[in-house]
Amino acid sequence: MSILIDKHTRLIVQGITGRDGAFHTQQMIAYGTNVVAGVTPGKGGTTMHGVPVFDSVAEAMEQTKANASVIYVPAPFAADAIHEAADAGVPLIVCITEGLPVRDTMAAWHKVMAKRGANNPLGKPRLVGPNCPGLITPGQAKVGILPGHIVTPGPIGVVSKSGTLTYEVVKQLTDKRLGQTTCLGIGGDPIIGTDFIDALALFEADPKTEGIVLMGEIGGNAEEQAAQYIRRHVTKPVVAFVAGQTAPPGKRMGHAGAIISGGTGTAAEKMAAFEAAGVPVARIPSEIPGLIAELLQRRRTRRRNVVAKAAKQATPAKKAASAKKVARTKKVAPAKKAARTKKAAPAQKAAPARAAARKRARTSKQQAPRKAAARPKSKTKAARGK
């Protein structure tokens, strides 16, 4: 499993005859992505790398029954390309182009949301980006510009505002044999179609994703909101990183959204928000693989324990349990607690602060699954049904 794209993805490339569009079409095909159509107005009837080119997205949709589109159209026309894809009924629209005026993105965002309808966070259509590297589901499909050779299939969902920093971290994960379900670059613009919360909801709903790595950066308050969301709704372990700890206020750091304004949007505030939500924060990128590996290990152990416990309690607890069974459960619980404490002990010695954060993380997460277990599952099924 994965999120948003997989081997069933049938992709349209908007701007396929341009320099970037043509190059990355080749790269996506080489990775095994099923590119079914290209669109460049005025170039209909031609082909590019063996892919038929159409004059409009509507025509391409009609002819090829595509289910996703990726946009490499130059900035002045990119928002229009999003509108065109949304109007043609494309369910997943990924805009790679950078440099879109915010006003244009805002209008395109509202178009996509109006098509989706209210209160449908996991629904379609979905816009990813603009100004993002796209996404890749290792071994299945890539939509965008992420390099294919750095990813490998596995249990980790990766979501990031950045491009090359994502590559850096994904490569470090892969080098440590920590594979990925899907790597998603949401982009660094002030207005984006898919934010951290959407991505977290998607990964939470994906049964194959066991842990999540989230990479934010200075500017705005998306990280603070993500931290809140994780505390309330995410049962899977999350590790966070925030770029721009040394960035001065008032200076735009490359990305249109990466600016500290009026004392808000600093890395320190974002890191504190994650820590307060029980999410371990990596100080430097190379800490990420170790942190997520440890949390995954702990989650797997806990799950095994839960399964073992469930097997012992064959009868559901709510049926008037016999006094004997109650006694047994009570005996089991303290033993397990002790076992867990032992495991946590060495980590505490090594890095007291981080261990404390993790301890908090565990406490909050232990409570969360019980409340959340029933609810997100039903939501997930509903979303998948659509």
Partner: protein, 379 residues
């Protein structure tokens, strides 16, 4: 890009917003001529992009042209919050009865422009927000636009006099047009003033423009003040590099904004100080690499330079070629540490080693190395 007050007022006037007549002056003599032209009481205002100009002595009244000349001379000698005053605005003065605050800002979270309005004008809005947030009225503008009745009813909540509320509503509607047509990320009037005759006018203008929209605004170029940018910043912008000068001594050249920030953070983490933020962007034009080296060498006190390249669209061999071409032309006065990985990494390594340069693949290792090299230079 942030506009100066006089530029913001120029933009406002174009859309029919009421501003008091005035002109910008670079010398005391020019200020005198403008004051003579305007006649009567004038106000001289320092044109720097900083709040609290009044408190810093950057806003003065003058009763006649000679006084305007003297006041302008005083103000042009000031430095306000580290910014030297190079220009003053000379404008007709008004008798103010009451000051309000009005702005439209892009709210990235709600994906909509946000109107902020307050009867507490003339002070910095951040102060009001901190101590009396209930005194700021906020309203998001829906995607279909701002209706006149909405503007009117908003203003009626703040202006006790209906005629004034109506004038203010007209100003808000025009300000919204400025904001949308002008691709602003902020359009602020502080104070929005009511004169003793009951006229509502924009006494100040603070405008930030969305740089991404420059392609459809041919007029923006003339607003860019060449003196606001150092020569190096201008070169960076012209070459499509994203560059911010910092105070440290380790220069860094990175591809991608996120990785560039993370590189700066890592330098700090290992005990160094970054000299800059520099993102060479996605394409790997060797010319950009040359320009990047030139900028970092020229601007500031760099003791060592780090290249951190993760090849995706950027091809490592292109960067290597750029480095070699640049070094052939002018050898570097400081040590260079290169980290390359990703697309065409092998070819890049070959190009560098033919030139006698090494490269590492680990970012952590490269950062520790460049800090060590910088310290050697220090010693």
């Amino acid at each position: 890009m942030n506009l100066h007050e006089y530029q913001g007022k120029e933009l406002f006037a174009r859309y029919g917003l009421p501003v008091l007549p005035g002109q910008v002056a670079g010398t005391p003599e020019e200020a005198r001529d403008i004051a003579a032209q305007l006649g009567g009481l004038v106000v001289i205002k320092a044109q720097v992009q900083a709040g609290g100009r009044g408190k810093a002595g950057g806003v003065k009244l003058a009763h006649d042209p000679d006084e305007a000349c003297d006041r302008a001379r005083d103000i042009l000698a000031l430095t306000i919050k580290g910014l030297p005053v190079r220009k003053v605005l000379v404008a007709k003065a008004a008798d103010i009865a009451k000051e309000y605050y009005l702005s439209i800002v892009m709210d990235r979270e709600k994906k909509a422009p946000l109107i902020m309005l307050s009867a507490e004008g003339g002070v910095e809005i951040e102060e009001v927000a901190r101590f009396a947030p209930e005194k700021i009225l906020k309203l998001h503008i829906p995607v279909e636009g701002l209706r006149p009745y909405v503007a009117r009813s908003l203003m009626m909540q703040v202006f006790p006099d209906f005629a004034q509320a109506q004038q203010a509503a007209a100003i808000l509607l025009k300000l919204y047009t400025v904001f949308m047509d002008g691709d602003c990320s902020l359009a602020e009037i502080n104070p929005l003033a009511v004169t003793t005759e009951g006229r509502v006018i924009a006494l100040d203008a603070k405008v930030s423009l969305d740089d991404n929209a420059e392609f459809r605004h041919v007029d923006w170029d003339h607003w860019r003040d060449p003196e606001d940018e150092s020569g190096w910043s201008r070169l960076a912008r012209e070459k499509g590099l994203s560059y911010v000068k910092l105070d440290g001594d380790i220069g860094c050249i990175v591809n991608g904004a996120g990785l560039a920030m993370a590189t700066m953070d890592l330098i700090k983490h290992y005990g160094g100080e970054p000299a800059n933020f520099l993102d060479i962007g996605g394409s790997s034009n060797p010319e950009k690499v040359t320009a990047a080296l030139e900028i970092i060498n020229g601007d500031g006190h760099v003791r060592a330079i780090l290249f951190n390249i993760f090849g995706g669209i950027t091809r490592c061999d292109d960067v290597a070629n750029g480095i070699v071409a640049s070094l052939k032309e002018s050898p570097l006065p400081v040590p260079l540490v290169i980290r390359l990985t990703g697309t065409n990494e092998e070819a890049a390594r070959q190009i560098l080693s033919d030139f006698g340069l090494g490269a590492t693949t680990s970012m952590d290792e490269a950062v520790r190395m460049v800090i060590a090299r910088a310290q050697e230079v220090n010693a």
